[in-house]
Symmetry: C2
Subunit: 483 residues, 2 copies
């Protein structure tokens, strides 16, 4: 696709400071990650974007399996009546479902909802899988597509159809279920921070922000490059709400029949949107090495066919050594000038670019450029592999440190509600809240800020005054605008 | 799930000779692979069945990537008007689509079809991705769920929703496209034979059996344990049919604008049905080692807690060594008698069972049992790992050889049409065919046999007489009843 890319390379990315939303859209487009489809609100995930999703899946899937979670697959369609069995659940999801009314040329007796999430269809099945306490815990995960009819969509962040995983578990006791929901939150935290290099705040959602049907929603919240919050993953303690609606019961060791305690938890292709906004800059995408489809791109350079051949041979040699160490390497052998190649791989966020030309070969060295800092260095061939491995590790941790420092700078406290309104934009505000839904709703109405989470670890412990009503308040929360 | 499995272990599998269809259903159920869902025709793929699908995906995905095919993801929904653009395509698929008419609480302006296959939605997008011959070949694959409203369904073999991969490519020339369609057929053949241990006949479909919209459909056909045929994979040369309908054009090196030449190819969860029917027996599922979630199950045995502990320690030691060699091992430590464990893993088709008890530990040996032949042998601990690896290789090749011999026995020729009708049941009949759709239709109407394929390699080359009309015929084909 050289011609097309040549064209793309010439197209500028809107500066982030000028228009954040345009900047985001430009990066998604020019890094060839995704595009809008002819179907309203649905996206096409292009190969480069999908390759990032595959890396995310692989890492997460291994983490789930390490917790003894098993993958399975449940139907795309849910009978409309199932959705209605849990009152809060249907209230939350009914307005945004897509409905199949006709199939095989005939009108269906009962309309089928395209899954907006799979609690209802799975738990009906679970009610038959589980008889005894010996069948517990039941730990199931599904990788699937999901449909929620959204009015305003944005690639990766909010689309009518998206890809995700949804874990669903059943436990014998409340404590065990709550503990498992927290364990999965910790899986997400670790994935976000260690793999995506994206620091997150872990905590609980307020009642009005929790999942429709849950008793408690745990979440990880990340700060994006514009200071807004992104809910990056949630883990729900469902209590016995669905168990009672679907008859998920078991005979306990004490011969009593009891309802199961359940959890569900999920992350989606929305994470790719978070990844983009956590690290990227005005030159394009910046990827942490652990999620880069190509961790290193090698550009062989030469003015004559002989020089090109020599550079390519050296590139191949280095690539082979790097690959033997498990590093993902791309050699860009296309018949193009090096300049547009540099631009292209910069836009695509490849962490390390290695340039090899005739002079380098003579000197026994290469030129390496870090994507995150643009730092250019000449590296000797001796020990090169270890130096590049080190460089990748440095980039991974430096991206995390940079994002963390950014969030710390922008996590503020305020004197009062007036001060809050002035300083809200682009910040996380740590404030006390009396716990009333009314105060929460008023703040949202007046400022568009929501309670992103009630952090597990509260930096300003102790009591204070509610941001809105001024009454005594024990709970410290994060207020912010969000995606 | 010990209690439930204990119960399952007591339930008998219907003998294959008594009722093939019941036998199949019993295996799927008792090996806990899948079950019917509350949604008509849709299945729940249970963890054990899904684990087999994951192994299939992993192997196939690597083969596609080795051909430079890139994964991507396209919308689940297709505007109804798209489906209509290719005349044969809509004719083939319109009767079996599910249609979304309402979403977000409102009636849609244009109904959306749930994808029965993705040619139309992808090629509309491809028409914008491709401008120049430099953008070709475009090689895309998608792992996705598919919906086709089927009247009669059977777990894995024919379900309303199924999982599959669909590859879609665009090439500059007819020869290149045809060659690529054949390359992917070879990928499927090799996967079926080398990984599934399921011999297949490769060839071309007759015009009336080919994919709706294709110029030519290549296929792999396998013989199941009842002598019926299963279409296990297809690769379509689409010519320029869709390219013309969707404007998939490119500017060639000669500055002429030309339509692309396209292919599509796919295999689905149907392969799991084929896998079951190719190898299993009256004791349950038989899995080729390359697709077994557990290749070896180790059962530690002991009458006292001390004996159990010693057996488990030895089991762990052996498992660690096997895992270091990349072998998938399960240690069954459940507090149950060994008998039900043996039955359970037999039903689940685990290739090798290893039993370790106090006497074995004293003798420095273990007992190993092959699932396919039930052969029991005592193996000394010395060199055990290599012997087990060998055993797995033997099982893999022996399953293939057995299935091949079975098919060869049951691939017959006949004297005439009367003879054909008598011998058709349970056999592949190799016969000549004049090429007319009328003769083909008559045979189907009168005997329910279809032309499964026109094999690339014809064992009885040369001309003959058409099975039905008796006219001179150059083409030898396989007639059979099929799934």
């Amino acid at each position: 696709m050289s011609e097309k890319l040549d064209k793309a390379a010439q197209k500028a990315i809107t500066p982030r400071a000028k228009d954040y939303s345009e900047w985001y859209q430009d990066i998604v487009e020019q890094a060839e990650m995704a595009e809008h489809s002819p179907v309203r609100g649905c996206m096409v995930i292009k190969p480069y974007g999908y390759a990032i999703w595959e890396l995310m899946q692989k890492d997460l899937d291994a983490r789930f399996k390490a917790k003894d979670v098993q993958n399975a697959y449940f139907p795309l369609f849910i009978p409309e009546s199932f959705l209605k069995r849990e009152a809060k659940h249907v209230e939350g999801f009914a307005p945004e479902v897509a409905v199949v009314t006709h199939a095989g040329g005939e009108k269906l007796d009962e309309p089928l909802v395209v899954r907006p999430t799979s609690e209802t269809i799975m738990y009906d099945v679970f009610s038959r899988w589980i008889q005894s306490y010996r069948d517990l815990p039941l730990l199931i995960n599904q990788w699937a597509n999901i449909v929620r009819w959204e009015m305003r969509t944005r690639l990766f962040l909010r689309t009518t159809e998206f890809l995700w995983q949804e874990g669903h578990t059943v436990h014998a006791t409340e404590d065990e279920a709550d503990d498992f929901a927290k364990q999965m939150l910790e899986v997400y935290r670790s994935f976000a921070e260690d793999i995506m290099a994206m620091p997150v705040i872990v905590g609980t959602k307020s009642d009005s922000e929790r999942f429709a049907g849950a008793v408690r929603t745990y979440c990880i919240e990340a700060m994006m490059g514009d200071g807004k919050a992104l809910q990056a993953g949630t883990s729900h303690m469902l209590g016995q709400n669905f168990a009672k609606a679907f008859g998920v019961k078991f005979l306990d060791a004490d011969s009593q029949e009891k309802f199961g305690w359940q959890t569900s938890w999920g992350v989606s292709t929305r994470l790719i949107g978070g990844l983009i906004m956590a690290h990227s800059d005005d030159k394009g995408l910046v990827l942490p090495p652990k999620l880069a489809p190509h961790q290193v791109v090698i550009i062989p350079i030469g003015a004559t066919p002989e020089e090109v051949e020599a550079s390519q041979a050296k590139a191949q040699e280095i690539a082979d050594q790097l690959r033997a160490e498990g590093i993902r390497v791309k050699i860009d052998k296309r018949d193009m000038r090096p300049g547009p190649k540099f631009f292209e791989w910069e836009k695509k966020g490849v962490p390390v670019r290695v340039e090899i030309g005739p002079k380098d070969i003579v000197k026994g060295s290469v030129v390496a450029v870090r994507r995150d800092t643009s730092e250019k260095q000449t590296l000797t061939e001796e020990g090169l592999i270890d130096v590049i491995k080190d460089l990748l590790d440095q980039i991974q941790s430096s991206l995390y440190a940079k994002a963390l420092a950014f969030r710390q700078e922008r996590t503020i406290t305020v004197k009062d509600y007036e001060d809050f309104k002035n300083k809200l934009e682009g910040n996380f505000v740590l404030a006390h809240w009396c716990g009333s839904a009314e105060c929460e709703a008023k703040v949202k109405e007046e400022t568009k800020a929501t309670i992103r989470c009630i952090p597990f670890e509260m930096p300003n412990e102790g009591s204070g005054k509610c941001l809105y009503c001024g009454k005594d308040a024990d709970t410290a929360v994060i207020f912010a605008k969000s995606y």
